[in-house]
Symmetry: C2
Subunit: 149 residues, 2 copies
DNA sequence: TTAAATAGGACTAGAATGGTCCTCAATCGA
DNA sequence: TCGATTGAGGACCATTCTAGTCCTATTTAA
């Protein structure tokens, strides 16, 4: 199914809520209330996004979270990476250690291309695109052939 | 990590081996020996591919498996679907049942676009492309804006 | 000083995944 | 006809991963 984890899904929901008024500080509890996601889970996700330098946190009373960058500068690819690590379809695409497959590994190079293609697609969509349903994002072409050298 | 299951990875290895001489019938045991994947696992994958009408099987002595279509006509998207079901990043993209998120669901439409984009990318790469490392696949453009109405 | 928030990590239950195995059915060839 | 070979179908298990919860420490505003 090529699935994205539930947490990543939640993250996009949370981030798009925050993107609506990006200069406002939001507490975890507020976000939980608005999105309907349980507080501990929201909290966990927010911490991950802070670690990924995607959000900035303020501790203490009146504290909370705020976007570190403009919604236009936060790509879906970045969100996925923050929650799930590097975007790659296959194991070998990440760690280039020896893979034990006897004959199959000449495929790897091409998997790299597929990964690249998908990465480009995800990179081209930003939080801003997600929050504005009818908006047309900037034109992005992904000519497969250009990925081959 | 946006990961593909190991079985799907294996499937591509198996299929590319079979694509090398596509008119030959290959037994599961032979494939296991060549690819280095354990026989029961190979067997399981082959059965799935048969169910997906991607391979044709012959029972009995001298039996085995053969590609149902030409390598050029088998897309990576089809392989993934065969092993993992419909390609979709989020749950809601598959079953359009009500999703309980209070405010986040205006995002859904745009997730659909991302899914479509990725699907197109995977659809545009075929088994033939995977087996010929240096080959340039047919030019495929994926203008994001065209996906919006 | 107290209340409100986040930081960091441990922990658990449940689901999914990868992998194995067994029995039945079909086909070929001697 | 019979036996060997090969796939079909499904049950099954162990391990890993995921989602989700909770606890304690730290920071800050009032």
């Amino acid at each position: 199914m090529l699935r994205l984890s539930k947490l990543t899904d939640y993250a996009t929901v949370i981030l798009s809520f925050m993107a609506k008024d990006e200069i406002q500080v939001h507490a975890a509890m507020e976000i939980a209330a608005v999105t309907g996601i349980a507080l501990p889970t929201v909290s966990k996700i927010l911490k991950m996004l802070v670690n990924a330098k995607m959000l900035i946190s303020t501790r203490g009373a009146k504290g909370g979270y705020i976007l570190a960058r403009m919604p236009e500068e936060i790509s879906v690819a970045a969100v996925i990476s923050a929650l799930e690590g590097p975007i790659a379809l296959t194991e070998c695409s990440i760690s280039h250690q020896s893979c034990e497959q006897a004959s199959g590994c000449d495929i790897r190079g091409n998997w790299g291309l597929i990964n690249q293609t998908i990465h480009n697609a995800l990179e081209s969509v930003t939080l801003a695109d997600l929050t504005r349903p009818a908006a047309v994002p900037e034109e992005v072409m992904i000519p497969l052939s250009s990925l081959y050298r």
